[in-house]
């Protein structure tokens, strides 16, 4: 048995032989055998050797055949050689694709790089004479690769990210989308596993589109840029967008798990909507997600708002839904900052009716009564901003015309913000918060006594939590810490309150 080092040396020698002399082309079979070896380093060396050899063959066009292989009798030796090489080439490609599923990440990466190299070179130097206006792209190879990458069992994210680095090339992007579509079509909705979907999503969300709408698509991987072969479909951005839309629609049909759902929704606004041929196709998906409630609703909000504001989606219940999203749980979900940021944006228009804004103000103030300190501070700042934008709402804090009321006229159970009678109410909640235990909240709430004239930047409050508030408090070094003046009698002795409820 040879040692690994010897084998690798052997592989290198054979590669050299094979490249130097046509006659020693048979060593390719040995190399293929080595690539099935158990030892990872041997496999890696063999893969490298094969990639090197076939890259050379592709460039020198040794495998080139004028047309489809003629019958054996008419073959020249040259043709036979080319034919044989082509056979070896397909075997090699198969083995590379197979290696994509390897457990060793290094080999996976090598295989991916190899396949991409083959795709590039084969596209530039086709094995057969291309048809007149056909785009020479080794699509079958790509598709095999994609179907291997979109695995149902293992996480291929690192490889897919690697692949997406080359999606800046327009042709590769185009055919990748085609392959993905085929892959999705092949798998029925029921059979799409979470892993498969996550792999597809990873590929989809990392596609790189040119930022400029008018840009000419001529950044091709397979064609040198000087040969201007115009392929109407590949080089048209419109066509590419169509395909992109189709893939996404097919993808969104599948049953998404909550985590995937959230991931999709967070990516929609930046990675998807700008590149769809018609973003309104997402409206159904988004409205459905919005109706689910909870965190998913929060996330769908942004996409929906983009559709409404930029693409003229008519969604009359938007503010009603937004109103219903303000619930006590909102302070305890992960997306709190995002939600309040978006809500601030949605309510930033000064053309909103006062009754609507007043309802929001009341609702948010109610929430702040049960919120943690950081949330309460955010609420107060939010409400103050609303007052600045909508001076009409200041009746909530300054009402001179009416006498005392027996109870708050505001109806907090009413789902429709138009019917809450918020404009008849007063902001007693803020008055209460002025007595909040947290000095920060109390100071913020005291601002309603003299309304500020300029909006405050919410960014400082959006992400803050109790931990940061404590840090702030600790930083405020104050000398002369006041102490209790009286000597205590014991731990529970100083005040009678504790003794009523607990004993030591």
């Amino acid at each position: 048995m040879k040692s690994t080092r010897d084998v690798i040396a052997d592989i290198k020698a054979k590669t050299k032989q094979c490249l130097e002399n046509r006659k020693s082309a048979n060593v390719i079979i040995d190399l293929l055998c080595y690539s099935q070896n158990d030892d990872a380093s041997v496999v890696a060396a063999a893969l490298r050797a094969l990639q090197q050899a076939f890259s050379r063959f592709l460039i020198t066009q040794e495998m080139y055949l004028e047309s489809s292989p003629p019958p054996d009798s008419e073959m020249t030796t040259e043709d036979q050689y080319a034919c044989w090489l082509q056979e070896q080439y397909t075997t090699t490609c198969d083995s590379f694709v197979e290696k994509l599923g390897s457990t060793n990440s290094k080999i996976q990466e090598l295989a991916l790089v190899g396949v991409l190299k083959f795709i590039e070179l084969e596209g530039q130097n086709p094995l057969q004479k291309p048809k007149v206006d056909e785009f020479t792209f080794p699509f079958t190879l790509l598709q095999e690769m994609v179907s291997k990458l979109m695995s149902h069992t293992s996480n291929m994210e690192s490889l897919i990210l690697r692949l997406s680095e080359v999606t800046e090339h327009d042709d590769l992007r185009f055919f990748l989308m085609k392959a993905l579509r085929l892959e999705l079509d092949k798998t029925p909705v029921k059979k799409r596993t979470e892993m498969f979907l996550s792999n597809v999503l990873c590929a989809l969300e990392n596609l790189e589109f040119p930022s400029d709408d008018e840009a000419k698509l001529n950044n091709f991987l397979t064609k040198p840029s000087d040969q201007h072969v115009q392929h109407p479909k590949v080089s048209s951005l419109k066509e590419q967008r169509k395909r992109f839309t189709a893939v996404w629609m097919e993808f969104l049909r599948s049953e998404l798990t909550p985590s995937l759902y959230r991931r999709v929704l967070t990516k929609l606004d930046e990675k998807v909507i700008p590149f769809l041929s018609s973003p309104l196709v997402l409206s159904d998906f988004l409205t459905q997600s919005y109706n689910i409630g909870g965190a998913v609703s929060l996330l769908a909000l942004n996409g929906l708002f983009i559709l409404i504001s930029k693409y003229n989606l008519d969604y009359p219940d938007f503010y009603r839904k937004l109103y219903s999203l303000f619930e006590p749980q909102v302070f305890h979900v992960k997306y709190r900052a995002r939600f309040f940021f978006l809500a601030d944006m949605f309510l930033s228009s000064i053309h909103l009716p006062s009754y609507l804004v007043a309802s929001f103000i009341k609702r948010i103030s109610r929430l702040s009564l049960s919120a943690p300190p950081a949330g309460a501070r955010l609420c107060v700042a939010f409400v103050l901003n609303l007052f600045v934008r909508h001076p009409n709402c200041s009746v909530l804090i300054h009402r001179t015309d009416s006498a005392q009321v027996n109870s708050d006229p505001f109806l907090d159970d009413e789902p429709d913000p138009a019917k809450t009678r918020a404009m008849e109410s007063s902001l007693w909640e803020m008055k209460t918060l002025q007595n909040h235990f947290s000095p920060e909240v109390a100071l913020e709430a005291k601002k309603i006594n003299h309304l500020p004239t300029q909006e405050q930047d919410l960014a400082d409050f959006l992400d803050s939590n109790t931990e940061q508030m404590i840090e702030q408090e600790v930083k405020k070094k104050k000398p002369n810490v006041p102490l209790c003046p009286d000597q205590p009698k014991g731990l529970f002795g100083s005040s009678g309150l504790m003794k009523n409820f607990f004993t030591l």
């Binding site: 109870s407 708050d408 003299h450 405020k476 006041p482 102490l483 309150l497 030591l504």
Partner: protein, 789 residues
């Protein structure tokens, strides 16, 4: 004669007329700038009020003719003629005079040249005011600056003799005849010499006499000085001899009777105490409102003595005893003698300990403290600590303050660890609390820092747990819970902002708000924290949302739930889950035991111990009572109905039929209170009216002294710059005007030149024509004559 006179008169008149003409200019030649307003106090002859354009124009023309025209004429020439003949420029000299002058000059230069040639070879002597410099430079016998001695004659002589003495006519001495001028001069010289000599002798005499006097004085002066010196030792000897004097002096310097404080009566003491308390309360209220201190003062120092005063002597644990020794044996107080033998032994032990500790250093690190305290009974430990503190009172030695600081943090650590043991030593903490407080007072800043650090460490731990469990926290161990209570004992929790209390508050709120309630211990810990919160806010009645949320949640756990409908609950509670019926009673019960901290919160407590109806009913009862307290405290807040509405809703769902009578009654009472609060009338909010801003007043600027000039404002440099800029502008304009006039003058001159040249040529031409025509005429005449002839 008459004719002559007539002529003179006519001349006079004419002359005067001419004069008048000269004096009075033609008003048509004047240009008067009319003044718009006559300004009082201003100089009447202002420059530029009256201009004489004709005169100034002709002046300017003349000036140009002298300068510019000359230049123009010489413009094409490379050299110029300069007339330097003597007297040529003086128009008053006649040609003869000029010639004479020139001749004289000629002769003079000639003679000078001759003289110089003769003297050549001799060295020239340098002089100064006619004296040879070589003489002066010797500097011998410097001349006295006295004006009388410079050889001049005296003033009297000058007055009498010079210029004939003017009007000072001397009465001629009858015996003397008239002297000739020569004689007079000889007299004068001799006289002055005599005077000089006299002055010299006088001066010498004075100098001599001064010297003599000096010598005499020296001898006398020595005598005087010697006497003075010999005086002093005599008096000293005198004083030493007398003891009485010494004592008198001593008494003089001794401090005389000082007024001491009068013993205060009991009422006065009570009054002072009341005032002290009043001041403390006012301070506390000020801090509660979040106002800053009126003036920066140091911490009100409370001496250790006053601490001792407030020390409770009735507390049996800290009973003091006097230690007396006689012949090396311990003497006990008579009242102790009748006690049990065991107690005597402990006292003996403690005394030995005390003696030991007197020479023992305070523990430098945690291990030494543990070794000092471990293995002793609790009372002994307390005594040890007390003695340690007493031994290291800051007034005893320097550096004790730092030692006590360290002791404080070590003790705190010690008790915290004692509390989390299998069998928690809560009593130890309870007993040590006064001691810790006393230690804290020695150095409030460092002590509170130590407490804060403990709190922050615990909070970090809590945060880590939260992160590990995806945002859900856990009720911390008994040590943290008791530390939070300890904060209330040490610090005034009603402050608006306090370096220790505020973080503690946040910590509690976070714990209550983040931790899902999953078992009985969670309920107990939450209720405990709510109680601590209640204590914190008992004076300031601040709003703590988390407490209300938690108490609402506890009620939810105990309530009868409608399985078909989801209840509205606040996080961290969830409307569905395994634990939503945690506090639902299994059967009815009569007893309501009070919750015990150790038995419910310590780490070793088993779940089964708490899974009883007793615990549940105690929790519910505690919760209801707490709600009562909170509703009482918050009754003044305007949003109370909204805050307590969910609670009220939940209270109505409690299965009160199973509860003991007392609990049932308190639930009913709470419901009644909350319902009453809910219908309380609310006053709509109004913003305080702003005081109207008065208009800005502009006061006239009054100048005390007005000198007729406007004063420009600004610094000296700015004013100077402005002045110069103005000047530059004016000069620039003036220069432009001059240039314009110059070019105008030149153009005029050139035009004149060309006209003259043209005229000249015309004239010449016409003369030529005339000549030619006469010639022609003569020629024709001759021809005619020839023809005729």
């Amino acid at each position: 004669m008459g004719k002559k006179n007539k002529k003179q008169l006519a001349d006079k008149v004419r002359a005067s007329k001419v004069k008048e003409k000269e004096r009075k200019p033609n008003p048509f030649e004047l240009k008067i700038n009319r003044q718009k307003h006559v300004v009082l106090g201003r100089n009447q002859n202002i420059r530029g009020q009256v201009g004489k354009p004709g005169q100034s124009r002709s002046k300017a023309m003349k000036r140009r003719a002298k300068t510019l025209l000359v230049e123009l004429k010489e413009s094409g020439k490379s050299n110029s003629f300069k007339d330097q003949r003597l007297g040529e420029k003086n128009p008053s000299l006649s040609a003869d005079d000029k010639a004479i002058q020139r001749f004289a000059l000629e002769r003079k230069t000639q003679s000078q040249r001759k003289g110089r040639l003769e003297e050549e070879g001799e060295e020239e002597q340098l002089t100064h005011y006619g004296q040879s410099l070589a003489d002066i430079e010797k500097f011998e016998d410097p001349q006295d600056s006295d004006p009388d001695e410079d050889g001049n004659i005296s003033g009297k002589m000058v007055a009498q003799e010079h210029f004939g003495g003017f009007l000072t006519r001397r009465t001629e001495e009858p015996g003397s005849e008239k002297k000739s001028w020569k004689e007079k001069m000889a007299d004068l010289i001799s006289q002055s010499k005599k005077e000089k000599y006299e002055r010299q002798t006088e001066k010498d005499d004075i100098a001599k006499k001064t010297q003599e006097l000096d010598e005499e004085w020296k001898s006398v002066h020595q005598l005087l000085f010697a006497k003075k010196k010999s005086d002093q030792p005599d008096s000293k000897d005198l004083r030493k001899a007398d003891d009485y004097d010494i004592s008198v002096r001593k008494l003089q310097f001794e401090i005389k009777g000082k007024p001491s404080n009068r013993l205060k009566s009991e009422e006065e003491i009570a009054k002072e105490e009341a005032e002290r308390l009043k001041k403390l309360e006012a301070d506390r209220k000020r801090r509660m409102m979040g106002e800053s201190e009126p003036s920066e003062k140091g911490p009100t120092h409370i001496s250790a003595d006053s601490l001792e005063d407030s020390f409770d002597p009735t507390d049996s644990r800290k009973k003091k005893f006097h230690v007396m020794f006689k012949d090396g044996h311990l003497l006990e107080k008579p009242q102790k003698q009748g006690k049990k033998k065991q107690q005597e032994q402990t006292i003996k032990q403690t005394v030995c300990l005390f003696l030991l500790l007197c020479c023992l250093a305070s523990p430098a690190d945690y291990e030494s403290l543990v070794s000092l305290l471990s293995g002793r009974s609790m009372e002994e430990q307390l005594t040890v600590v007390e003695r340690l503190v007493a031994c290291h009172h800051p007034s005893i030695a320097e550096g004790n303050k730092q030692k006590l600081e360290l002791l404080f943090s070590l003790l705190l650590q010690y008790v915290m660890e004692a509390v989390v043991q299998e069998k928690p030593l809560v009593e130890l903490l309870d007993g040590l609390t006064p001691m810790l407080h006393r230690l804290l007072r020695y150095n409030p800043d460092a002590g509170s820092n130590a407490v804060l650090q403990f709190l922050l460490d615990r909070y970090d731990e809590f945060q880590q747990i939260c992160q590990r469990r995806g945002g859900r926290g856990k009720y911390m161990g008994l040590d943290t819970l008791l530390l939070l209570k300890l904060v209330h004992v040490f610090f005034p929790t009603s402050d608006f902002r306090h370096p220790v209390v505020t973080p503690a508050f946040y910590f509690m709120a976070d714990m209550l708000g983040q931790t899902p309630v999953q078992n009985e211990r969670d309920v107990a810990a939450g209720l405990y924290l709510c109680t601590v919160c209640l204590e914190y806010i008992s004076l300031s009645s601040r709003y703590v949302p988390e407490v209300i949320n938690f108490l609402h949640g506890v009620l939810f756990l105990a309530a009868d739930k409608d399985p078909s409908k989801l209840e509205k609950v606040f996080p961290p509670f969830k409307p569905v889950g395994n634990h939503i019926d945690l506090l639902k009673l299994k059967g009815s019960i009569d007893q309501v035991p009070v919750l015990n901290v150790t038995k419910t919160l310590a780490t070793g407590v088993e779940k089964q111990d708490l899974d009883t109806d007793e615990f549940r009913i105690s929790s519910i009862s505690t919760c209801v009572h707490l709600l009562q307290e909170f509703s009482h405290l918050y009754s003044k807040l305007p949003a109370t109905p909204q805050v307590f509405a969910p609670v009220l809703n939940m209270l109505k769902k409690l299965p009160t039929s199973l509860y003991p009578q007392g609990v049932k009654e308190s639930v009913d009472m709470l419901v009644a209170t909350l319902e009453k609060d809910a219908t309380r009338p609310l006053t709509p909010l109004t913003v305080e009216k702003k005081r109207p801003q008065p208009l800005k007043m502009f006061e006239p600027r009054v100048e005390e002294v007005f000198d007729g000039k406007k004063k420009r404002k600004g610094s000296r440099e700015l004013l100077e710059k402005q002045r110069l800029q103005h000047k530059v502008k004016r000069e620039f304009k003036g220069a432009l005007r001059e240039i314009r006039k110059d070019s105008c003058f030149l153009a005029k001159q050139q035009l004149q030149d060309t006209l003259e040249k043209d005229n000249e040529r015309k004239r010449k031409l016409s003369r030529l024509y005339a000549d030619l025509s006469t010639q022609e005429g003569e020629f024709k005449a001759l021809k005619r004559m020839k023809d005729k002839s």
